[in-house]
Symmetry: C2
Subunit: 116 residues, 2 copies
């Protein structure tokens, strides 16, 4: 029987060469090679991370911060390169969630069996 | 190129027939077919879940609850069938964490590349 880790590396390689990942990579490089898209995208990422951290630490988020976040979202949505990147990110995230549900199905079946 | 989902199903099947999963399944069935081990294990699981839920909802945990949890842990540790199950669970969890790090490596490399 194939080794579990060998099959995991197969899956990594398949993911790396998939249209989904290659498309994401190109979209990411398109953003990073455009000075204004790059700055906008990094602003957006930083703002999101700051807000997430504050939420996790239970800190209050001010009206100015909400407004700033709203503006960075509005800006990135108007940038074609960034919108394309975010679409491809979302799609690959869905694929990875699917994969992880497939892989953990044996465990779910095992622990769920006495409820059926 | 192989389809991403096909390789994910390969990995599921490899996991399902692995020594790690088959060993866990046997250990689980051994606990479930022993009336006293089964009751003890379910008590332990329920107690853990109740405490986790309270923690997540920010509720206080009473001294009685801490003491009850300590006792259920002590009991399951003395039961060979349950200790064996928990060891195998821990091991398979480690394997699944490894696998998920392997699979998400392409994404980490992509987003980390401008920091290197
Ligand atoms: Ca169950
Ligand atoms: Ca980076």
């Amino acid at each position: 029987m194939a080794n579990l880790y060998d099959v995991a590396y197969d899956l990594e390689n398949t993911l790396r060469s998939s249209d989904e990942f290659q498309g994401l990579k190109q979209a990411y490089e398109a953003v990073m090679s455009d000075e204004s898209s790059k700055r906008m995208f990094e602003d957006f990422r930083n703002t999101q991370m700051e807000l997430q951290q504050k939420q996790m630490q239970g800190e209050d988020i001010t009206d100015e911060e909400v407004e700033k976040a709203r503006k960075t979202v509005e800006l990135v949505q108007q940038d074609n390169k960034i919108s394309s990147l975010m679409e491809k990110e979302q799609h690959l995230n869905n694929v990875i969630n699917d994969i992880s549900q497939i892989i953990t199905k044996p465990l779910e079946e095992l622990y769920g069996q006495d409820d059926q």
